[in-house]
């Protein structure tokens, strides 16, 4: 495949690849952009070759996932070397997105938090199916697991997400009720 053709394909899938990169980078836009840059270079320089065994989007998603994983490992090593990880562990919750205040709605915010608390594989399966509208087979190819395994991750992910959302919503509602009418909550003056 020629460079111009590859560029056109990359540009066509750019929006969805950014979404997937965000997912692989725990919703950190800067890290996602860095991963995208590395991925595009890999593809254009021929370090990652598309052999046509899957669709281009599936293959590109797999490359992004691998790149993000490598990048995370590198960042962790770098952080360990510079002892920044201590700050991260003691400073703030890792699951909390950096731009929490920017979320439009509380529900979306709760959803993001619930999503961040899911195990990686389950989150990936759900995102690939619901966000990127891939089927289970394509999701399995991106995740480099068998179809059965992908289906299991998908089902467990759905179940866990429902639990987490219910917990979050219950907390949110009780919190909201407490703010609205403190007298209705026992033990609150």
């Amino acid at each position: 495949m020629e460079s111009a053709e590859l560029k056109a394909l990359l540009e066509r899938h750019h929006a969805s690849t950014f979404g997937w990169a965000m997912s692989c980078c725990r919703r950190d836009p800067l890290e996602a952009e860095e991963v995208l840059q590395i991925t595009y270079l890999k593809v254009l320089e021929g370090k990652a070759r598309f052999n046509g065994s899957a669709s281009f989007k599936t293959w590109l998603f797999a490359v992004i996932r691998k790149t993000a994983s490598d990048q995370r490992r590198k960042n962790l090593l770098r952080a360990l070397l510079t002892l920044k990880v201590v700050e991260r562990w003691t400073g703030k919750d890792l699951d909390e997105p950096p731009d929490e205040s920017a979320y439009r709605s509380e529900i979306q915010s709760l959803f993001r938090r619930a999503l961040a608390r899911l195990p990686n594989r389950q989150r990936e399966a759900l995102e690939l199916v619901f966000y990127h509208e891939l089927n289970i087979q394509e999701a399995a190819a991106v995740m480099a697991v068998s179809i059965g395994s992908a289906r299991t991750h998908y089902e467990r992910g759905k179940k866990r997400l429902r639990q987490l959302l219910e917990e979050s919503e219950a907390l949110y509602e009780s919190d909201w009720r407490r703010k609205e009418n403190p007298a209705t909550i026992p033990g609150v003056e």
Partner: protein, 175 residues
């Protein structure tokens, strides 16, 4: 794909997420341009690292090489003392070595040795010195066992030579 009520709700939530993230998505051209810039930067950085490494390693290599080349040769005190002590005894005891061995010890100019040979010799020195000392040792009473016919007995007769001729040979003159 038939979605259940729960799946529809999840999809809706993901759509909301997707629409938020699409607003944050950087421009494709910008991503590509910064990727290219990062490549150039990393290439320059790796080149300067290589240069710095070469600059730091080269003097070290040169200094080691100079140290090896300019290393003072080992003082040959042991050999010299041994050689100084042996001429008399060799002159006396040369017949005891036999003609073949005596022939093997003529004055051969010492070969010039490079640093590598010197290093090898230095490593085997203690053993060599011990062996040489052992073989050079002669009993102090060996001269008492000498008889005038020793020379005749130790020389090899040749065909067609008379007894007188043989007798006149000394081991050192043989051959």
């Amino acid at each position: 794909m038939n979605l259940t009520g729960e799946e529809k709700r999840i999809r809706q939530l993901f759509r909301g997420l997707s629409s938020q993230e699409l607003e944050q998505a950087p421009d494709f051209a910008a991503v590509l341009a910064s990727a290219n810039a990062a490549t150039v930067r990393s290439r320059n950085r790796s080149r300067s690292w290589k240069f710095a490494m070469a600059c730091s390693v080269l003097p070290a290599v040169l200094s080691v090489a100079m140290a090896i080349i300019l290393q003072p040769s080992r003082p040959q005190g042991n050999d010299a003392s041994r050689q100084a002590s042996t001429p008399d005894s060799q002159a006396q005891e040369a017949p005891a070595l036999g003609p073949l061995q005596a022939r093997a010890t003529p004055d051969v100019p010492p070969r010039k040795r490079g640093p590598r040979a010197r290093r090898q010799r230095r490593t085997s020195d203690p053993m060599t010195i011990a062996m040489k000392t052992l073989f050079a040792w002669r009993s102090p009473t060996a001269s008492l066992l000498k008889i005038p016919e020793d020379e005749l007995l130790r020389s090899l007769p040749r065909l067609g030579e008379s007894f007188q001729t043989i007798k006149s040979y000394s081991p050192d003159q043989f051959n």
